[in-house]
């Protein structure tokens, strides 16, 4: 196998015409395909966001929260933290935090 040039690593968006995913795979598809990140940057961003987001909610004394959990009316983790985490990745990739998913009609790498 050829070795990878560390200063200019190949990017999946230059090799794949279409990338799809659900949940974790969906986030990765966005990072690789829409934000055109290389693998290293994507791993780094995923490690950071999963660390930030998957902190269990403090629910020991949170009776309302526990009742909500029992009724399954809200998720187990903080949705706002996930929103901010994604926005930070978008900004790090050089775009506005409210940047649209679709900015071109026919992008080279579809997500």
């Amino acid at each position: 196998m050829r070795t990878v040039d560390p200063t200019n690593p190949p990017k999946p968006c230059d090799y794949f015409d279409l990338i799809g995913g659900t949940s974790t795979g969906g986030l990765i598809a966005i990072m690789l395909g829409r934000l055109k990140m290389d693998i290293e940057a994507c791993i780094e961003a995923y490690l950071q966001i999963s660390k930030d987001v998957f902190q269990p909610r403090k629910r020991k004394y949170d009776l309302l929260g526990r009742a909500n959990d029992a009724l399954k009316v809200r998720g187990r983790f903080n949705s706002e933290t996930l929103k901010w985490g994604i926005q930070r990745i978008v900004v790090q990739a050089g775009e506005n935090e409210e940047a649209k998913l679709r900015v071109e009609a026919h992008p080279k790498c579809r997500v």
């Binding site: 090799y15 794949f16 799809g20 949940s23 969906g26 926005q87 998913l101 579809r110």
Partner: protein, 190 residues
């Protein structure tokens, strides 16, 4: 309200069900599929994205349908490489005594994704690639052992995930597949 699988795209589609959303909204909506996060409303009509009861946790069929929608039937013979990556295979039934501790959703989702992968390999994968087919085009990589009890929330288990992945990738069959997959991608760029 009918539940169905929605596709969020960064491109124009001839399909009617488009969503104009921010990147973060798309990320939130797809993550709601895990049931770990609150449902979210996005798009002009504020449609709700909820957890993955719709059973599309392995989107391989959706991606293939979408490729056919974009490039037409000729996509079948023009695809050089179709790569599918999983998040760990489920434990076999009746294995060990730790099963009780595993969230039932983890088992359910990983079982469903593997069934979908097996069906795709059987039904659709043989139709991909230009005839006469000499090379493998569809690749599925999914760590076989060691991640049975690791849900996507287990960020503290990264070392374990990395170790299990390295063991999997260094097995003879899989490392051959990796080289073949890299070859398929390289041929695309030349």
């Amino acid at each position: 309200m009918g539940l169905h699988t929605a596709l969020l795209r960064n491109y124009d589609s001839s399909r009617p069900e488009g969503f104009d959303c921010a990147i973060w909204e798309a990320g939130r909506a797809t993550s709601a599929a895990s049931s770990f996060f609150d449902p979210i409303q996005i798009g002009r009509f504020q449609e709700t994205f909820v957890d993955g009861g719709t059973g599309c946790n392995n989107p391989v069929d959706k991606v293939f349908e979408e490729a056919l929608e974009i490039w037409g039937e000729r996509a079948r013979e023009r695809i050089n490489c179709f790569l599918s990556i999983g998040t760990g295979q489920p434990a076999e039934r009746g294995f060990g005594n730790g099963l009780k501790e595993i969230a039932s959703t983890v088992i359910h989702i990983s079982t469903e994704t593997e069934q979908t992968a097996a069906r795709f390999a059987r039904v659709n994968a043989p139709s991909i690639g230009a005839a006469p087919k000499r090379e493998k085009i569809y690749f599925r990589f999914n760590v076989a052992k060691g991640l049975e009890e690791t849900g996507l929330e287990r960020h503290e288990d990264m070392a374990k995930i990395a170790a299990a992945t390295k063991v999997y990738l260094s097995s003879p069959q899989i490392s051959d597949d990796l080289i073949a997959c890299a070859g398929a991608l390289r041929s695309y760029c030349m």
